[in-house]
């Protein structure tokens, strides 16, 4: 396949020669990185075998990539030992900070618990349930549904009932 064949095969727009060039370059770039499908790979290899221009572009890709790979980097300002020391110092500092925060939080909770200041928390404070204290009071008049204290004692069943009723009334 020659370049012309490639252009024929990839005819997106009749006047879009530039687009085809771009597509070719992208395809070659992907091929260079091994990021093409099997059919694309075959397409590129055929093209490279037959087209000087495509080959030239591909060689440029190779040289550029080689230059990037070999590009020397300025030496680091800090030697590894110094970096390691700084890293350990930072980690130690962070740990101490965490401990300090934790200690402060615990101390604050302790103080709050001891002083009992947070009265607004009282509704959430568990309390022991208590029965109401027995209350005594004078009953001036009893409802007619209840037997009069001076009346003759009612049978046991009746007395129990009235006691319950009285207790309920008192409460």
């Amino acid at each position: 396949m020659t370049r012309k064949d490639y252009d024929e095969r990839n005819r997106f727009e009749p006047s879009a020669r530039v687009d085809r060039d771009e597509d070719l370059f992208v395809l070659l770039s992907c091929y260079f990185d091994g990021e093409v499908s099997e059919s694309e790979r075959q397409q590129v290899e055929t093209l490279l075998a037959a087209d000087d221009r495509a080959r030239e572009l591909y060689h440029r890709l190779e040289r550029t990539s080689f230059g990037l790979q070999q590009l020397p980097v300025p030496p680091s300002e800090t030697v590894p030992e110094v970096t390691a020391e700084r890293v350990f110092a930072r980690l130690r500092q962070d740990r101490q900070q965490r401990w300090a925060w934790g200690g402060t939080a615990i101390a604050a909770l302790f103080l709050a618990a001891v002083s009992g200041l947070p009265t607004n928390f009282s509704s959430r404070t568990p309390q022991i349930a208590r029965s109401p204290a027995p209350t005594t009071f004078e009953v001036d008049s009893l409802p007619s549904s209840l037997p009069h204290p001076d009346a003759s004692p009612a049978p046991l069943q009746e007395a129990k009932k009235s006691l319950t009723a009285r207790a309920l009334f008192v409460e």
């Binding site: 770039s29 230059g67 790979q69 980097v73 680091s76 590894p80 030992e81 970096t83 390691a84």
Partner: protein, 221 residues
Amino acid sequence: MPMTHSISLSWSTASATVPQTPVPSPAQLSNIDLVRRCQAGARPDRAAFTELLHRYQSYVDRVLYHLAPDWQDRSDLAQEVWIRVYRNIRRLQDPIKFKGWLSRIATNLFYDELRKRKRVRQPLSLDAPFTTDDGEREWEIATEDPGPDDALTTDEFYDRLRVAIADLPEVFRTTIVLREIEGMAYEEIAEITGVSLGTVKSRIARARHRLQAQLQHYIDS
């Protein structure tokens, strides 16, 4: 008593014959074993971690240099990379992949920092078609570089390349660095940069194209 004595002797003999396997120092370990040793305890072993840092610091510096050539505080960034490595190395499941994992940490950190700085670069001129205003294809533009007769040294080429990389718009530079320096696959680059696979392909090609255009003289000679 004699019985006891003989038992005691046999024990002492046995203990003397057990070969003592010396624990190799971190410097003697392979990269993979070094990573494993760092993963062994509740916290990475200090000596092993220092050795690991010693072996890979230049790689981290290289990645950060290409990602952020104009940042003056790259050593602080590198330090932060190693702090993250220290804290998370136990999560690395396959020690063989340490280099890629390290590279990813450096790249993520760079992006975090980039977002913080909200660095505004020039418009993405490479998004324009591969042509100039007069319709000429960019790779055919005559270069203003010195002619082939000039004595061009390798250092000059690298200087030019450095400038050309630094001149690339942010997104194109990071994409080509992720590919060429860090060796990431396109899908990985798409994931880390949050763009489609097609965009990654296009950005890598365009970045290469721009570099070639700026270095044409050196490349062709």
